[in-house]
């Protein structure tokens, strides 16, 4: 094998939705840039350690999230949290030393992919497949919840009044994308 630099191959990560874009009826669908994602499992007794490693406390109220800089921490269940670092930094490295057996952090950066649904009618498009009440009263800015879209599970996160982040498994992303395109067309 040659050691010369010219023969070195560089692997390029290709996202499942790379290059796609759709906009119609005042709604645009954009694949989110790749970021780092961690699933943290921490019961009450491990939340202090999670706070130390993360730099801020985990959300305690259902359907809420906490934002610190580029890091978004979403409440998924009483002991389950999704941390999204849109900047893609050294978040997993911070958790390498978590080892008291009560805290688990799993890197799911490439299991998940995300679609940004934005526009004044974004709620209508999402509600064509999501049975939750997405009005601002019931699902305010910053609200996050695991739910369903059609037949696929997703984590829905409202980043602003007219913008949602749809986190889904990359294997479902083709279905979710096509479902949303269909939904946007018929809004």
């Amino acid at each position: 094998m040659s050691k010369s630099a010219s023969n070195t191959m560089t692997a390029m990560r290709v996202g499942p939705l790379d290059g796609l874009l759709f906009a119609s009826n005042g709604i645009s669908l954009t694949p989110a840039p790749s970021g780092t994602r961690l699933v943290i499992r921490a019961r009450a007794e491990a939340q202090a350690e999670a706070k130390k490693l993360l730099g801020f406390a985990l959300p305690t109220k259902p359907k809420t999230s906490i934002i610190k800089g580029d890091v978004h921490c979403l409440w998924i269940g009483p002991d389950e949290f999704l941390v999204i670092d849109v900047d893609g930094s050294g978040l997993p490295a911070k958790f390498e030393k978590a080892g008291n057996g009560k805290l688990a952090a799993i890197d799911v950066s490439h299991r998940n992919t995300a679609i940004i649904v934005s526009g004044p009618n974004a709620v209508d498009a999402l509600n064509s497949g999501c049975p939750q009440d997405l009005s601002l009263e019931a699902f305010p800015v910053g609200a996050a919840s695991r739910t369903i879209l059609g037949k696929a599970e997703m984590i829905l996160y409202r980043t602003s009044e007219a913008e949602f982040r749809v986190e889904c498994w990359r294997s479902f992303s083709d279905y979710v994308w096509k479902y949303l395109v269909d939904a946007v067309k018929s809004v």
């Binding site: 259902p62 359907k63 998924i76 269940g77 009483p78 389950e80 049975p131 939750q132 919840s145 695991r146 739910t147 369903i148 599970e153």
Partner: protein
């Protein structure tokens, strides 16, 4: 669509996010290896399947992922209450049960209506 109150999410969520998980309050024998086949069958396979007020396990699988328990009327499909797993079986008042009873005359689908509360006929 039914709205089910998840005791962990502390709000009502649409039925599609949930999955039923069988009868609630079944205690697993601590000496499972020692019990007879008949006792195992009774524990594992034989469910009450009552018509009337039932206690069920549910799972908020497309939500917080938690299992919880619910008291529900199996004819009217109405929920009386949901409560966290591990909480003792609640005592239901007559008013609570009356509130979820199906119409006395029944409907073509569920006639004749008798329930465990009235005794088996």
């Amino acid at each position: 669509m039914l709205l089910i109150n998840c005791p962990y999410c502390e709000e009502e969520r649409p039925e599609l996010e949930f999955r039923g998980a069988g009868e609630a309050h079944i205690a697993r024998p601590t000496n499972l290896a020692d019990i007879s086949d008949d006792d195992f069958e009774k524990f594992f396979f034989i469910k009450d399947n009552d018509k009337g007020v039932v206690f069920e396990r549910w799972r908020h699988i497309h939500g917080c992922g938690r299992f919880f328990n619910a008291a529900r009327h199996s004819v009217s499909d109405k929920f009386i209450m949901t409560y966290k797993a591990g909480v003792a079986k609640p005592k239901l008042t007559k008013a609570q049960i009356d509130a979820v009873k199906p119409p006395a005359k029944g409907t073509p689908a569920n006639e004749p209506v008798w329930t465990i509360e009235e005794g088996k006929k």
